[in-house]
Amino acid sequence: MSDAEQAGASGCGAPAGGIKVTAGVGNQAVVQGHVTRAGTPVPTGYARLLNSDGEFVAEVPLGEDGGFTFYAAPGSWTLRVLAPGGVRAEQVVSAESGKIIELEMAV
């Protein structure tokens, strides 16, 4: 069992940065990326995934490298970033089964 599967089986919370894709993407529809400010990673903040109706689906604290990973389903999603100082940024993303979509969010 991979680390990701173990984490998924035992809990519900999100570790900082999300659970990295380690053993191949399989048929998962992965959305991941990094948040940067003037080219520097933003390690304190949150990435939130919303569905096409704008409803909350998941949220992870950003990793040390400003990174985040979500396991979505095929379709359209919105990625919202919150960071100290009232910083907020959004991007619409289309996820596909068996693919990793990479996002770079500059705030």
């Binding site: 599967e5 409803e55 604290p61 100290p84």
Partner: protein, 280 residues
């Protein structure tokens, strides 16, 4: 009970740091968050290692809970302020758990760790030293905990509130989207359950919406019958503890239970009814 009896804001906590008789407890699933930084004086409780039985799927028993709180230096008379990551999911779960074992004076920090971080308030890595106590817990208060048979019996009779995201409720996802989707359970929801995602009760910064907005959300928009008893569930019982907190502690609904077995149990049961897609 009023909001101020169960909830404190970040300014209040900041002003009372170090007060005798007040213990801050950070509860996370990802306990490395505490190790990287926490509110000054806060002790750590690990959602899994400290609160779950290591063998059976259940809570630590009463002596286990007594040993845990005694070791962390928490006494029966202390006011416990819990906070944590994931919009206070695990902190709300710990709050409910403290109530389950009869701790009287426990409150939640509104917005939890996230609000504290987004406010750029001070966090430290220093681990506080607290003298051990002799904590005495009560028997579990089953009035606030639902088991699987309670849920099956509630179908069509009581309010069932599925607090997961609409995507999990309809069966499109099996877990929150930060987790891999390969799970053993069948997708879907308990028939007659209404889908009121926990996130509708909170603002983006993790703080709770006003009592008025919450009452409108559950009674008017979601059609919950406040004259009936309620059972809330999610996937493993922490997001539903958040909703239990809203209904039982903020809105003062008398009979609300959290089903901690939640979908990882229900979705694996043989022979129980499951509905997929939108609410019928």
């Amino acid at each position: 009970m009023s909001r101020s009896d169960v909830l404190v804001d970040a300014d209040w906590v900041q002003a009372h740091l170090g007060d005798p008789g007040l213990v801050l407890v950070e509860v996370d699933e990802d306990t490395s968050a505490y190790d990287k930084g926490h509110i000054k004086g806060a002790v750590k409780i690990d959602w899994k290692k400290d609160l779950q039985d290591p063998v059976r799927r259940d809570f630590v028993d009463r002596p286990g809970f007594e040993a845990l709180l005694s070791e962390r230096g928490i006494s029966n008379d202390d006011t416990v302020i819990v906070y944590g990551g994931n919009n206070n999911w695990f902190a709300a779960y710990a709050y409910w758990y403290f109530k389950l074992y009869g701790h009287q004076n426990v409150k939640l920090l509104d917005g939890g760790r996230k609000k504290w971080e987004l406010d750029s308030r001070e966090m430290v890595t220093e681990i506080p030293q607290r003298a051990a106590t002799s904590y005495h817990a009560q028997e579990q208060d089953r009035a606030i905990r639902a088991l699987r048979d309670d849920v099956v019996a509630a179908i069509g009779n009581l309010n069932l509130v599925d607090v997961r995201s609409p995507d999990e409720y309809t069966g499109r996802l099996l877990a929150p989207a930060h987790l891999p989707q390969e799970q053993a359970q069948r997708p879907g929801h308990v028939p007659t359950a209404k889908n009121v995602p926990w996130s509708k009760a909170a603002q983006d910064d993790g703080t709770f919406k006003s009592d008025q907005a919450l009452r409108a959300l559950y009674a008017d928009e979601s059609g919950l019958d406040f004259a009936k008893d309620t059972i809330a569930y999610c996937r493993i019982g922490e997001r539903s503890a958040h909703t239990w907190f809203v209904l039982h502690e903020l809105l003062d609904q008398p009979n609300v239970k959290n089903y901690d077995g939640s979908w990882t149990e229900y979705g694996s049961l043989v022979g129980v009814p499951i509905e997929v897609g939108d609410a019928k």
